[in-house]
Symmetry: D5
């Protein structure tokens, strides 16, 4: 089941730089694990912004909620969630 | 080069049903041609809405503009365009 | 899987009254069938508005999309969809 | 008498973690007492957000106001209040 | 129980003038009946606009809904509903 | 001459509690003096919010400005001002 | 007593051109009468828009309401009303 | 050449009171110099707000920019700039 | 003196196609005359939209207003006007 | 390939003045290097604001992203990115 998740990251100007780097490293590891598992199907940077557009493939709303709440950068993010489904005109068998 | 395009379709209540069906058929053919060509990389329906989220892969801004202007449903659409780029954390070679 | 759906209905002033009544009757029958099936778990009127807040319980995003698209009043509605999940503090076994 | 209450929680990044945990524990106890009493009829998490949608059943506007003002997390919340009423098409005797 | 109701009236430019006058006359009669009954406690025009701010005193959300739906001008109105309660600093016994 | 004034109060989480209590006490005294004088004709709490809707009766715009600027809580408030006038359908002699 | 009134004019594309010209002529005459009387103290066009910013000097809210309602172009206008008062730093005796 | 400038002033609650008073004194002197020179043609307070509406008469966009940037309170202000021109219906020779 | 003008064009679906084509031809001629004269310094299409961003170089606000009002497509346009000036860091002598 | 980038700069009131001056100096040098290279084709100040409108000419979305992320003032900026293309009516060979 697919969802578009748009994430805007905002780290305060005076936040400790070392701690921020550590959180970003954990975020990257967490992301890559989910990417390999096929949960985090796509990610793109929005040009010029510290924001991304992502497509998640999950079994349920609850799994999506728990996955997003586990993001190390979650406390610094503003999230927009849009449930998606397959488009009837698509020639592909799955909705990738 | 990737762009997210969000399209909201709004056909007036009193628009001729047969003409609408013909336009939608042309739209579907136009879409599938671009999907096969790899230009229209992804398309998803937004749940509960007559709207889609699409990812386009084009050579330039101008190609994207001309492609969108050619959509048979274009006069009934509201468009939002967001330029994208590869995310540095991604494990994939391309930005699909 | 639960979703909040907010529906605002707007029938144009000059729309044929008899046709509107027929559509509303079909809408009511469609709603009651889904209510009996447990798909349309809750519905409330927003006070003073021709709008409702509803809770749907569906198997997937696609089922929700198809269900909403089948609403006889759909062409007159503006929809807002919010995916929900169980609250961890709740004492109840299901998320009703 | 039913009201939809949407609560967005925002605890500042630098707020003391222990104090936050204590407030959340008091919030949970306060919530469960109201849930048992039937005042706080429903609660759902909004997926991906630190927000909930709740349905309250109260005798009057004043009781709702006092109940919400008593929430331990109230100073960290943004509230939206929507008065509801039974939908005429519903097959159920009460508006649950 | 008190509610603030803000009503914006918008009659289309090409609406039949005689019919509009008849609806407004019915609206005035309906309003005055409710004013005498104490249900429609206050009404003020917003300066320069075809809008009013009103205070309703009703037994329940449902009574408010039915009262507003009965307004002859309802199909031409946009409504905003705000539940109110007595202010603790007030020196008056009722919330007038 | 009547004005609707909507006041939203926002005291920062870390503001000194004792000082806040002192300001609120001065606010209450200031309010009650104006209520007795008939300047602050009505006040209602918005349910669930730290906000009120008030009706002021003043001689001029300038008097209203000076009255509002004198509110002890003014630095913590966001204000919306709407000039009002008597509604032509009202059966009452004054616009109360 | 001074008010800023911002007026946006929107005449439908298919409105009868002759009737529009007649209404505009009446509007101009109405305006010039009020300008001579000192009620309509200032008027400026917003560059590139069919909109103006005006300053009215009236005895009361009610006079302003009746004056604006009398505008021949009123049914085509969207209005924003802002009550003003003299600025304490001004060197001038009146608030012109 | 005329411009409407709307200025909203927001001095943080914890800003040093003495420094604020000194900045306001410099602001007043700066304003009065420009008022005498005819550059700052009009200023009005917005009722109930720490905001003003002003009309500037300047030779060019650049002069307006430099004038506004020189305001001692500029770092505390949010600005909205609207270019104006003479209204064709006005009976006055200049656009005052 | 430079201004950014953003123009969104919206021709109704049922507008006569031949008349639209004639207006667009006049618009193009009008534009090219102003481009040659140096008044309409720049024009760019916004990708995917029937909108442009333009830079005008004019002597005064009034000249800009009259120029824009003369656009054959003006009745179909929504305009946003932003006054600009030279950036102090620019290495160029003029603000092109 | 052209993009409009609108940048709003907001340096906190209590940010160290010397550090701010150093960042602005680096920003100016970075800008001028890009201006000479033809990447940063145009820049204009928005009158009365600490904001600019810029036109970038880049090979790809990714180059634009990296260029903007390299701005010394980036952490203090809010960005809006609009992809542009040549206007078909333009008489010029390139889209400058």
């Amino acid at each position: 089941m697919l969802f578009m998740v748009e994430m805007d990251v905002n780290i305060p100007l005076d936040f400790d730089a070392e701690e921020a780097a550590a959180i970003k490293a954990r975020e990257k590891a967490y992301f890559q694990e989910l990417q390999k598992a096929g949960t985090w199907r796509h990610i793109w940077r929005k040009v010029g912004l510290y924001s991304n557009v992502s497509i998640f493939d999950v079994e349920s709303n609850t799994v999506l909620h728990d996955t997003l709440m586990g993001l190390p950068l979650y406390p610094f993010m503003t999230m927009t969630i849009t449930p998606l489904c397959r488009h009837p005109s698509s020639l592909h068998d799955d909705d990738r």
